[in-house]
Amino acid sequence: MSDANFASLKERFAYLTERDSADHLAVNCPAEHLLECCTALRDDFGYDLLVDVTAIDWAAETSPRFTGIYHILSTTHHAYIRIASDCVDDAAPSLPSLAGIFPAANWHERETYDMMGIRYEGHPDLKRILMWEDYPYHPLRKEFPLAGIEVPFPAADVAETANAKVLPAPMMGGPFVSSADGTMREIEPQAKDESWTEKEENR
């Protein structure tokens, strides 16, 4: 199979729609057809190396809120394809797991679950991978603050002997952060949190 273009894919998979892309071939695929589509892409179109699985959170008020993104590379004809698949439920998003057809998806999906809270149905061992097991939040969701939220320290005994806590990071004086939109005064990289002071810290 030489270079797959959208027309040849559309012929095979009627449910695909083309996705705006600044680079290579990109398609939207409904979640219920994702497994079927990826299996066929791997077996018949030569897209055999799953390089990346991730997701985008389009913020709380939009629907569909979460979009799963897959990048697959062909080791034979050296082309990428991007597959985007919207999660149906905004409150409890889920997608079918690709771990059965691409073992590489196993860890990537665990990461996306950890960071975004998307459940991958059929994943052999869906648990947190980067944060610790009991961490209550999904940090890459848009409403989660960069500085973090106070939660119990991962190990209770260490928390007691060392008096350690998981606290929000002080956002003052550190690397200045910028916002995506707003007036120029708001966009400008700056310390967002003015409440933290040395005095407060040593209290």
């Binding site: 610790w132 989660f144 500085a147 939220i149 260490v158 002997t161």
Partner: protein, 183 residues
Amino acid sequence: MKSENTTLGYNSKVEGEVVVTQADAVINWIRKHSVWPMPMGLACCAIELMAVGASRFDISRFGMEVMRFSPRQADCMIVSGTVTYKMAEVVRRIYEQMAEPKWVVAMGACASTGGMYRSYATLQGVDRIVPVDVYVSGCPPRPEALLDAMIKLQDKIGRERSVKNLTAPKAAAAAAALAEKEA
């Protein structure tokens, strides 16, 4: 003292084969010239720590080349890199496994204050879980900076009241715990 050109005001013919000094001085002298570091290599700084141990900077000039990865054989933990909350537990446990006396060097911005990683996952300075003796700035610090820190640590060891701590270690520990609680 067989040297012809001894600069010490000491004459073995007069005073015999004995040097009189303070116990503190002797103990500290021994301790500070035989620091066995435990490289707590976590991130980028660990590469500079390796550079310090390697040929060009050569930490063995200061008697510290005996890097021990077992905390039970080490007395100075060099925390080199970002300490995340997930890792903090491990760092603290390893610190507790080290035998007294023990010292901690926070190498680099991340270990000292969290550095450029002001985020939900990063512990904002290793001094929140273990007592730190020397902080080294830089991201990562140059090898010279770490060597300087180690020399500073030697100075610090040299000023300690070692005998007092030896004879009353429990009292000292209790006092330290009390002070920590109050702070």
